[in-house]
Amino acid sequence: MSMKTPVSVLRLPRGPDPNSRGFDPNSPRFIALCPTTVSTSSSSSGSVDEEEQRLRSELRERFLRTLLLMTDKQVQFDMLEKVRVRARFGASDIDVLNFQVSDLETPLGVQKEALLRCHDVISCSFEL
């Protein structure tokens, strides 16, 4: 009688620290779910970092304004495997890992509330 090799249990990463806002690049959640591809420039002179930070802030603010504009709008989501769904956009989480949507139209019917994994979303579009 052969013994089956026990399978190691995979523990999911812990959720964000309840005491902070969660935007910690060293948090287990960020490291586990976000690929570590957001690199800072390799040269480490102070003024270059400041300039890069300024650029990041400008770019990020524009992106947040995009999310604001998208809020409560009917959005078309192009997902993997050529799947397309429509829903009302609610919010994104801080790392752009999940989108909260309402009235998601699926082949099985309309889902009142849902979370879309951004990893499964290729693009989303809306009209003004």
Binding site: T37, L68, L69
Partner: protein
Amino acid sequence: MLQWSERSPQHWLEFVNHEVCVTARDQQRFEGRVFTVDPVSASVVLVSVQENERPSVRVILGHAVTDVQILGRGTEETERRMKSIFLPSQTQILSAEELKSRRESLRVWLEKNRVPVTEDGEVLRVANALTISAPYGSGDCSCSNEIILARIQSLVESNPGEQQTSHTSESSDNLMRRSDNIC
């Protein structure tokens, strides 16, 4: 060859305001003018450039971008037009007296609510942490602490002296959602 999401903000900035063609993971192609590239997710925000159609916005998630090619360069005019879509439209230019009376009305309202506020030229300073500049609306508050920001913003919106727009309880709902979205 670095992936799109591994690039630097300087690299992404080179595409902002220009007309591009983005190729996505499933070979789909999207064209439009780049409004921004999110530094956290490398997602590309495109604005449609068709003149006669309703403007539309597309967000292509960073992980799905395989290639971005510039099709045409933008100008100061295209940047201005694009920005006007996203940024709240400028209210009418107010005269110095109108600005002064709005500032005064807000200062009095804040004091009434026991908020420590001082006038510093054209700017109101709250608790040495938040500044409110002209035209003294809730969108003109600047603060690095989001809790203070949210509280003062809702106070500014509820100022009975300045009825700018008619929405009341709706605006505080929007405010809550906005402060949850903003990160």
